[in-house]
Amino acid sequence: MSSALGDVYISPELILMDIEAKNDQEAIEILAKHLYEKGIVKESYIDAVKEREKVFSTGLNFEEMGIAIPHTDSIHVNRQAIAVGILKEPVKFCHMGMPEESVKCEMMFMMAIKKPESQVDFLGRMMDIFQSEGYLRGLKACATPEELAEKFGKSFTE
């Protein structure tokens, strides 16, 4: 069994099920701080990912759910990982590439990527997974971080 994830860490400890945030900046800060507290990213990641979102927005309006994939430069990252945050109420993000369009996001997939060249497969694969019918709804419906991490991690395994 090979996984397109490589050494990208997915774990229940990086999943927040009930984020309460008024806006995208607040939502990003909560999840980024969590990544910092877990040692995955440097403290500088928090401001860097917030600033990057203002310039290069990351909302993506998938057919069944709006999500966001905030990320920033690898210099702020200690260990490759994806954190998942479920937003208690949808939060508006600007759409990637079309910032005049806003996306009501229900989940965030925050990427901490250190070696992008080794991750060629990974983001494209994740986008394919998100397109499959019922996937995002199913992920959001998970009852515990453990269940979500297992389901999400497994999707990358071929």
């Binding site: 290069f56 927005s57 993506l60 990637m96 992008p116 060629v120 494209g124």
Partner: protein
Amino acid sequence: MKRILLVCGSGICTSTAVNQKVTKALEERGLKGQFQITQGKASEVAEKSKQYDLVISTTVLGGECHCPLIIGTPFLLGRGTEPIVDQIVEVLQK
């Protein structure tokens, strides 16, 4: 050989994902070997786009683009891509 510059904020993340999708879509249209894709940063477009036939971006550009520009975000969403592939093919066949 047509040259495509594919950009995102950092030049490594979403541009990589879109690169795979665009390459596949163009090969399916029988254009294999007729295009070359280079990845870059959105901030480099103003300076570099003169050397390219087409820029595909997943993000907003800071500066001016000196060749046709297509927003490639639909390749990430997996829908609405056919009209975009048509546009790309049109540029490549000019």
